[in-house]
């Protein structure tokens, strides 16, 4: 079932544990997304899997084979880098075919495979150009083509879309996801963008400080965050956190409520509207409660209160997330 297994993988840089005793099994054929704030160890873990870094402790299995100390090329993995890392002195054709050439494949077969991949990625007209003569999106597709042509055991994506503009990024997300599902190849995708993680993942792994905070299906993480960190990280706008007596009434040290789970009510917490964000399909109303605590609630367009209006809000009781003083979710 699982294709890539990590057992107690640790990587230190000096005294800092960038990756701290990670145990993880990555399912065959799925898209697993590593997400977390910068410096959380997600990229380091990807590089450890690729073989570009060696772990200080732990074991890495790929298809039940111990690959802990194996050279990157022998692991059968293909990586797409954030910077694309194309070979600037080679044409698109040579870039995509480089791995096959190194593997000693015959020229006609290389050409056939390169052209098949180029057609799949709409790169055929650019095959004889060099990377410098391509747009950002085209370079991105060459980088993907270079990974796809090898028919690897798994793809490793290191923030591959972060250098693209927002519109193109949205399109490429869908295209990449479609491609991965068509090929049925296992993929690990690293991003710091939780929205990207939510849209692309079969399974999300949330990292912080070199450790896994929670792993699960996107909606599992959204609806049942295991702790305060995951609750705050997944979802946009972020959850509303409230502590003190308001949390105490729910029997928790702290509670968290999503903006869509707050409603205007006759009985509830009173506050003043400071900003209304109109996004078209929905609006977000920013409030300040009497004790200064900020709150965001979602409102249907046309029903938003005016700036400066005073209103009372209450959470949908069943949707309140409760956390103990240690930050862990309470049953």
């Amino acid at each position: 079932m699982s294709q890539i297994e990590l057992h107690g993988i640790t990587k230190r840089f000096g005294d800092h544990r960038a990756v701290d005793r990670i145990d993880l099994a990555i399912a065959r054929g799925g898209m697993t997304v590593f997400v977390g704030p910068s410096g959380c160890g997600k990229t380091t873990l990807l590089r450890l899997i690729a073989g570009l870094e060696d772990p200080d402790e732990g074991r890495l299995l790929i298809d039940d084979e111990d690959m802990t100390g194996t050279a990157p090329a022998q692991r059968g993995l293909a990586m797409v880098f954030q910077s694309y890392a194309l070979y600037p002195h080679m044409t698109v054709r040579a870039n995509i075919g480089f791995a096959l050439k190194l593997a000693g494949m015959a020229r006609p077969e290389i050409d056939a495979r390169v052209e098949r991949v180029a057609a799949m990625l709409h790169l055929t007209p650019y095959l004889d150009r060099r990377p410098a003569a391509l747009s950002g999106g085209q370079r991105q597709r060459v980088a993907i083509g270079r990974a796809v042509v090898r028919e690897p055991r798994a793809f490793l994506f290191d923030e591959p879309l972060s250098n693209l503009d927002a519109a193109l990024r949205g399109r490429m997300r869908v295209e990449l996801r479609r491609l991965q599902q068509e090929l049925g190849t296992t993929a690990i995708y690293v991003t710091h963008d939780q929205a990207e993680a939510m849209t692309m993942a079969d399974r999300i792994v949330v990292f912080r400080d070199g450790r896994i905070e929670q792993a699960g299906r996107p909606l599992e993480l959204y609806h049942r965050p295991a702790n305060r960190f995951v609750a705050g990280f997944i979802g946009s706008p972020a959850m509303n956190f409230l502590a003190g007596p308001r949390a105490a009434t729910f029997g928790a040290a702290e509670i968290a409520i999503r903006p869509e789970d707050l409603t205007v009510a006759a009985e509830g917490w009173s506050g003043t509207v400071t900003v209304v964000e109109h996004l078209g399909a929905e609006s977000y109303v920013h409030l300040v409660l009497e004790d200064g605590a900020p709150l965001v609630l979602r409102s249907r367009p046309g029903e938003e209160p005016a700036n400066g209006a005073k209103l009372r809000v209450a959470p949908v009781a069943a949707k309140v997330h409760r956390f103990g003083s240690d930050g862990l979710a309470l049953g």
Binding site: A50, G51, L52, A71, P72, A73, L77, A78, M79, F81, Q82, S83, A85, L86, Y87, P88, H89, F98, A99, L102, A103, R146, R150
Partner: protein, 274 residues
């Protein structure tokens, strides 16, 4: 628009003046080499009414030694540069892409060896070379120049390699490139302008080397720098012949420089604009 044109004329004039000032000694040597000896030492020097002649060149070439010295210069400068390159490329590659906390210190230490005046180690090296039978041999000079220029070369290549994004090399590693393939098929083609300018600089340094060649060679391995020195002879200075010999000595290097100037300029400004 008009001010822009005037500005350009002034800049062009300044550039020409600077170029002329730099090239003047060369130009003067070139002119003198075609004058008879008497004209060559005449003061004030004349540019008109001179009985231009090729006599100086004929004398220099007839006296012999030029051909052998020229060959020695090519072999010594070429071989010492290639040997230094062979050592410096892997060294600079390791330092640029797998740095350790000590890399910086190591580079500075290597460079510090160039601060030592060569004359300080002349005696020990001379004695070692005498006992090892390396005096007046090409191999001896090549060895010394290759090692002597190594620090500068490693430093230059290190700087050029640092311009190459490490992820490109990592991509090659994942694509299945061996260490040698990573170097020859990815890093070196990418650093080619830098390699070319480093090669030219070290080649020129080897070509110009006079201190060691004068002290360690006499006839068999004497390159053009040593050949030139023989013209300040007991019979006195012959400016015409000296000039002709100078022109003949720098001719090959000027030709190479001319040929490679585009690469050279690209190499020296590599990374400055991007």
């Amino acid at each position: 628009m008009k001010r822009g044109a005037a500005h350009r004329i002034v800049l062009t004039a300044l550039a020409w003046a600077a170029a002329l000032a730099v090239a003047f000694p060369l130009l003067w040597t070139f002119i003198t080499s075609f004058k008879p000896e008497l004209e060559a030492v005449a003061f004030p020097p004349r540019l008109t009414g001179v009985d231009w002649t090729l006599e100086n060149y004929r004398t220099v070439l007839d006296e012999g030694g030029y051909a052998r010295s020229a060959l020695n210069s090519v072999v010594i400068a070429g071989a010492s540069t290639l040997a230094a390159m062979a050592l410096a490329i892997p060294a600079a590659w390791a330092m640029a892409f797998a740095p350790t906390p000590r890399t910086r210190g190591l580079l500075l230490w290597m460079l510090s060896t160039k601060m030592l005046p060569p004359v300080g180690v002349l005696m020990p090296i001379y004695l070692i070379y005498r006992d090892a039978g390396l005096l007046d041999t090409r191999a001896g000079v090549i060895l010394l120049l290759a090692l002597g220029n190594l620090p500068v070369l490693v430093w230059m290549l290190y700087t050029h390699f640092r311009e190459v994004p490490g992820e490109v090399l990592e991509a090659a590693r994942l694509d299945g490139a061996s260490v040698v393939q990573e170097l020859t098929q990815v890093l070196l083609p990418l650093a080619l302008p830098g390699l070319a300018s480093a090669f030219l600089l070290i080649f020129t340094l080897g070509w110009n080397e006079a201190f060691w060649t004068l002290n360690l060679t006499s006839t068999e391995a004497a390159p053009l720098t040593a050949f030139m020195a023989t013209f300040s002879s007991p019979q006195g200075l012959f400016f015409g012949r000296l000039s002709a010999a100078s022109i003949l000595s720098i001719l090959p290097i000027v030709a190479i420089g001319w040929f490679c100037q585009r690469q050279l300029v690209r190499g020296l400004t590599f990374g400055a604009v991007k």
